[in-house]
């Protein structure tokens, strides 16, 4: 197998005396969807935060495109092409759709006004609309505030933003939570489109049927350790659940 696109080796994270992540190895290849599953407190969120640059691991190494990297902030990871969609919406409800899509990478007016930091809202709104449309999800008007959207529309904007900005890896933490069946189906389609684009997709979810349906490989975390890492074809719902809870070992 070729070298992974994004990889962490022997990564650990301690919060005081609590070991949230204990020597985990994790890889993601280009054009692959990996499901990351585990019970509450298994360390999924901690691993996501290490991957996204939100947390610095206590020990271990991170490699992107075979280069060792170290993230001091989410900004570093974003600039390197690693986008993360967090479980609790990473959108600012009072800002418009366009402002949210371009948050942190605003476009400026031309000339002296731009140098002073004045924004080109018209272009940002237009491009935001095009980006979201390209991703293939129902797009609300760019000038509407996020707080005026339904839960499904908000999630669509958040995912659309992450997919359109990601150049290498996209990490989706519970993207189908609180969504109806049709909207969840749309999200899964967006993930397949991202995979077809050659992105590495990390899909964190408690909804096991979604994980089994869309992923190529499944990684299971339990009590901060990786306990399984195998192609999705080797799992069925029962075996996956057993691995997550640890009940398989009793047999």
């Amino acid at each position: 197998m070729s070298t992974p696109l994004y990889e962490v080796r022997n990564i650990s994270k301690r919060y005081g005396s609590v070991v949230a992540l204990d020597g985990a190895d994790f890889q993601i290849n280009a054009g692959e969807i990996v499901g990351l599953v585990g019970d509450n407190g298994a360390g999924k969120s901690t691993l996501v935060k290490c991957l996204s640059g939100a947390h610095k691991p206590t020990s271990g190494q991170i490699f992107l495109d075979s280069q060792e990297v170290s993230w001091d902030s989410p900004r570093d990871a974003i600039e390197a092409g690693v986008e993360t969609l967090y479980q609790d919406s990473g959108l600012a409800p009072h800002l418009t759709v366009g402002a949210n899509v371009f948050l942190g990478r605003e476009k400026f007016q031309r000339g002296i006004l731009g140098k002073l930091g004045f924004l080109d809202n018209k272009n940002m709104n237009k491009e935001a609309h095009e980006d979201l449309e390209r991703v293939g999800i129902a797009v609300p008007a760019s000038s509407r505030a996020i707080s005026q959207l339904s839960g499904g529309q908000r999630q669509a904007v958040a995912i659309g933003r992450a997919v359109s900005w990601a150049s290498k890896v996209i990490i989706l933490d519970e993207p189908t939570n609180h969504l109806g069946a049709r909207q969840a189906g749309e999200v899964l389609e967006v993930m397949k489109a991202a995979k077809a684009k050659g992105l590495g997709v990390v899909f964190i979810s408690h909804t096991l049927p979604h994980v089994l349906q869309v992923t190529d490989r499944i990684v299971v975390l339990r009590l901060g350790k990786i306990v399984a890492n195998a192609p999705t074809s080797e799992f069925d719902a029962e075996k996956l659940l057993g691995t997550i809870t640890g009940l398989n070992q009793l047999q």
Partner: protein
């Protein structure tokens, strides 16, 4: 798929527009006070209202940025006092040395601004590094700055600076004085940066959802520092403004100013939870506050009634906000 927005009627939009309602309230006040005493409707009275308005609005501009970012700055009134006293000592020295008066006034303005920025940066560090909530952090600097201003000045106004400073506070452009015009220019510039530039966009984003701002790669801590430094700087300028009005730097200048500033911002439609507010609302809020004070004096009512009127206005503004977010939640 794109959802089409429906355009509400002009009347509906105006009624839902806080700035428009504030303007109506202000016109109503002017009509009310004029009906009781026709002297109220004169350039002299408006000039006086604007003289009172300018320092309140200076503090309230910074407060708008702070409140939109989800914080609060209680230290602005004390910053006015300390920066005014410090600038007064500085200008006293330069005047004794026989330096040019205008140069001395400019340098004094710079000193007042720097004192304000310093207090703002201390607030910023207490909030971002020491992780103290803004209310407590700025309560600390509020007390410290007020105390320092009294100790430093010995409790008395510091005069002996450039004599021309006080002449600046005479209105010459209609009801506007030179410092008043400068304040108007500052309002416009800050409004542009709050509503059209990235600085404002980040301020709203942080107040709306700090986590989202952080994960979008915004340096949130640095932005907090800038916002509190701006609030301190503008309060420092308000300190210099009071110096020009009194011809001295008094440790009592700006006393209670934080409450006027916060009241102006809240009446102007900002939410203390962050992410909401318009500078035009703040400007009108400050205008309504100072118009109330002058109006009550002119119609012969004890100005202490101002507190009651302000309380009613704040309650009305908050109720209006609650009803707005209520309808938003339903849709």
């Amino acid at each position: 798929m794109s959802t089409q927005e429906q355009t509400p009627s002009v009347l509906k939009r105006l009624i839902g527009n806080q700035q428009f309602l504030l303007l109506l309230v202000w016109f109503g006040m002017v009509a009310f006070f004029t009906a009781f005493n026709s002297i109220f409707f004169s350039v002299a009275v408006f000039g006086n209202i604007l003289l009172d308005w300018a320092p309140v609005v200076l503090m309230a501009i910074g407060q708008t940025f702070v409140i939109v970012s989800g914080g609060i700055d209680l230290s602005v009134g004390s910053t006015v006092a300390l920066s005014g006293v410090t600038a007064a000592f500085f200008m006293q020295g330069w005047t004794t040395d026989g330096k040019n008066q205008w140069v001395t006034i400019l340098a004094g303005t710079l000193v007042a601004g720097l004192v304000g920025i310093s207090i703002g940066l201390i607030n910023g560090f207490l909030i971002t590094k020491a992780k103290i909530v803004p209310f407590i952090a700025t309560l600390v600097t509020m007390g410290a700055a007020a105390g320092l201003a009294i100790v430093y000045s010995g409790g008395a106004p510091i005069a002996g600076g450039p004599e021309k400073a006080i002449t600046l506070s005479v209105p010459w452009f209609g009801p506007f004085s030179t410092p008043g015009l400068i304040v108007v220019a500052i309002v416009v510039i800050c409004g542009l940066f709050l509503h059209l530039a990235r600085f404002g966009r980040y301020t709203y984003a942080i107040g709306s959802n700090e986590f989202a701002a952080r994960t979008a790669g915004i340096n949130v801590n640095r932005h907090y520092l800038k916002v509190y430094a701006l609030s301190g700087f503008l309060s420092g300028l308000a300190g210099m403004y009071f110096y020009c009005r009194l011809g001295a730097g008094a440790p009592t200048s700006g006393y209670g100013g934080e409450l006027d500033a916060i009241a102006a911002v809240v009446i102007g439609g900002a939410a203390l939870t962050g992410g909401v507010g318009r500078l035009s609302g703040t400007v009108l809020g400050a205008l309504i506050l100072t118009t109330t004070t002058s109006g009550l004096i002119i119609i012969g009512v004890a100005p202490d009634w101002k507190q009651v009127v302000v309380a009613i206005l704040i309650a009305a503004a908050v109720l209006l906000q609650g009803s707005k977010s209520g309808t938003r939640g339903k849709s």
